[in-house]
């Protein structure tokens, strides 16, 4: 019931934002800020890039709010924009600076406490491709359906299912290796 109220409130805010209300849009995206920023921190080359990507995501979302189709969840639409922005920033950085393999600048390394360095998402970033990582994040963190993930990534449902399974296998293997060998580099 609460969720139904939440959805109807969200629709009201979306309609108000479509009418040009910045306040409504700000209220609408308020709950998504940290969730999106967390994802962007995992995908961008630096903390500053993640901040820029978040800002661009909200600007683009507000600018094109009229094109939002309510048949999809609002978070699906926002993630789609965020993933595009992260990819665009990444490709611009690669074009300007070359290969982005500077581990010391990795925002994830700065955003995870020292005691939590055995973070599976760091391994996921190392092991999985960008799209498979995104699919895993949307599935396991955002609890999105296969259909929604496929829509965000503009892929087929079959591709999404297969790659979620592959990603899970890869991470489970890594998790088990780490559990067996605590001194290994797998979690560092």
């Amino acid at each position: 019931m609460r969720q139904a109220h939440g959805v109807s409130d969200e629709l009201k805010l979306i309609n108000a934002a479509k009418g040009g209300s910045v306040e409504a849009f700000t209220e609408l995206v308020h709950g998504y800020r940290e969730r999106l920023f967390r994802y962007l921190l995992t995908r961008c080359a630096s903390h500053a890039d993640a901040e820029d990507a978040l800002q661009d995501t909200f600007i683009n979302a507000y600018r094109y709010i009229a094109t939002y189709n309510p048949q999809w969840r609002f978070s699906t639409w926002l993630y789609r924009i965020a993933i595009r922005n992260a990819g665009r920033l990444r490709s611009e950085n690669v074009a300007e600076l070359g290969e982005l393999s500077d581990v010391s600048n990795d925002p994830l390394a700065h955003c995870i406490a020292e005691s939590e360095r055995h973070n599976l998402w760091r391994n996921a970033k190392r092991l999985l491709s960008e799209e498979v990582f995104a699919a895993m994040w949307l599935r396991y963190v955002e609890d999105m359906s296969i259909k929604d993930i496929a829509a965000v990534l503009e892929r087929s449902s079959s591709w999404t299912k297969v790659n979620l399974l592959r990603g899970r296998r890869a991470l489970e293997a890594e998790m088990n290796n780490g559990a067996q060998d605590p001194g290994s580099e797998a979690y560092g």
């Binding site: 040009g20 967390r38 921190l41 978040l54 600007i59 507000y62 600018r63 955003c111 998402w121 899970r168």
Partner: protein, 137 residues
């Protein structure tokens, strides 16, 4: 929720994604300068069903009318006789001389090697299976 899912959720929650006041104000300021683009006017299907019935019937009537006119115009007029074009035989066909002095073995040897390797793989696989069976039973 299984262990893997729980671990991934916990690890995601451990990523510090606090929005600084500066970033917050930056986003709010940039949003103030953005004007949403209005949705493109899509032509909604607001016409009544009567319109579609009327246009369909008009189309069908027009098609029948055209068929009737064509048939009346061509009535009694013999159709054109089919013309058979006879091609003249080509006078000179130059057949290039092919160098056929190539050893057949040169052409087939890569395939033969590949076949031998595949057969060897098969033999090794068979031996492995035999060994497994011997150990298991």
């Amino acid at each position: 929720m299984d262990k893997f899912t729980r671990q991934l959720r916990e690890d995601a929650a451990n990523i510090d994604a606090g929005i600084s006041a500066e970033l917050d104000s930056r986003i709010n300021a940039s949003l103030q300068n953005v004007t949403p683009e209005s949705a493109r006017q899509r032509t909604p299907a607001t016409r009544s069903p009567l319109f579609w019935w009327a246009s369909s019937l008009t189309g069908i009537a027009a098609a029948f009318g055209m068929l009737a006119i064509i048939n009346l115009v061509n009535l009694g007029r013999p159709g054109p006789s089919p013309q058979v074009q006879v091609q003249e035989p080509v006078a000179h066909i130059v057949v290039p001389e092919l160098d056929l002095e190539v050893e057949a073995a040169m052409l087939t040897s890569p395939l033969a090697e590949e076949l031998a390797k595949l057969q060897a793989d098969l033999r090794r696989a068979e031996e492995a299976v035999r060994d497994d069976v011997r150990i298991d039973f």
